[in-house]
Amino acid sequence: MLVQVRRRPAFGSFWNEISEFEREINKVFGNIHRDETATGHQLDRYYSPAIAAWENDDHTALMVELPGVKKEDLKLSVENNVLTVTGSRKRHATPEKSTWLRNEIRTGDFSRTVRLPQGVDTTKISAELANGVLRVVLPKAEEVKPREIRIN
């Protein structure tokens, strides 16, 4: 399938750029599904977990909401300065003869891709999964850390 992506103006931050890109894709797929079925989102191959990002002088941090995901079902990788979180969430085990009354939780494969800012020391990235939240710490390389310049 051909997806046309509009370039954003240059002033947007990298996070915005990625999210705009994703929105663009979501919009394209969304329209197709709406035409075919009311529960179109279930046809998507992957779901996208929610993310947040912030930074301080020392590092940039990324948080990904992954409730119900086990560490062994999660993969985190960096290539060409693009960070990818993929994995799958298993459906709850239900005893035999049980009846579903409500199903709002999406299970199955998920994927989320984030372009990292310049100057991340990719050899020192660390990640921790706790209480259904993945926290990724992206340390800044020495040369991009803010520093005061002494005036002689």
């Binding site: 931050s13 996070w15 929610a50 947040a52 990002a53 940039t60 909401e65 579903w100 009354l101």
Partner: protein, 131 residues
């Protein structure tokens, strides 16, 4: 567009993001419910919540679930992007007569709260023996 304008736009964006991130929005956790022969089982997505913050109460006709996730945005950090809604979870469910009010089993694992509400003894499904 001049570079001065560009900087202004980015700063404005960040202020808006920070305001959004700091606002404590109440989120209704996504929930799955299934019924077994002797119980109703609820699974609620509450990522980031601590076990200690979770509070489950049940009265005559409702089940109330509350919890709190740690606020991830501290003052010294600059928020770059956020799709995460806030730090307070709250959801109510109506429950019927058939639920035993005295026994609820609660477990919190991997950001998912599992509640097992037992059915009253006389309402449990049972096999009827044919003589």
């Amino acid at each position: 567009m001049s570079s001065n304008n560009d900087v202004a736009v980015m700063q404005q964006d960040n202020t808006a993001l920070r305001r959004q991130a700091e606002q404590i929005a109440t989120v209704a956790p996504l929930t799955d419910i299934f019924e077994t022969a002797d119980a109703y089982v609820l699974k609620l997505d509450m990522p980031g919540a601590s076990k200690e913050s979770i509070n489950v109460t049940m009265d005559k006709d409702s089940l109330v679930i509350r919890g709190e996730a740690q606020n991830i945005f501290n003052q010294s950090a600059k928020v770059l992007y956020s799709e995460i809604q806030g730090a307070v979870y709250h959801r109510n469910f109506n429950i019927t007569e058939s639920v035993d009010r005295n026994s609820v089993d609660a477990q919190f694992e991997d950001g998912v709260l599992t509640l097992k509400l037992l059915k009253k003894e006389e309402l449990k499904a049972r096999e009827i023996q044919i003589k």
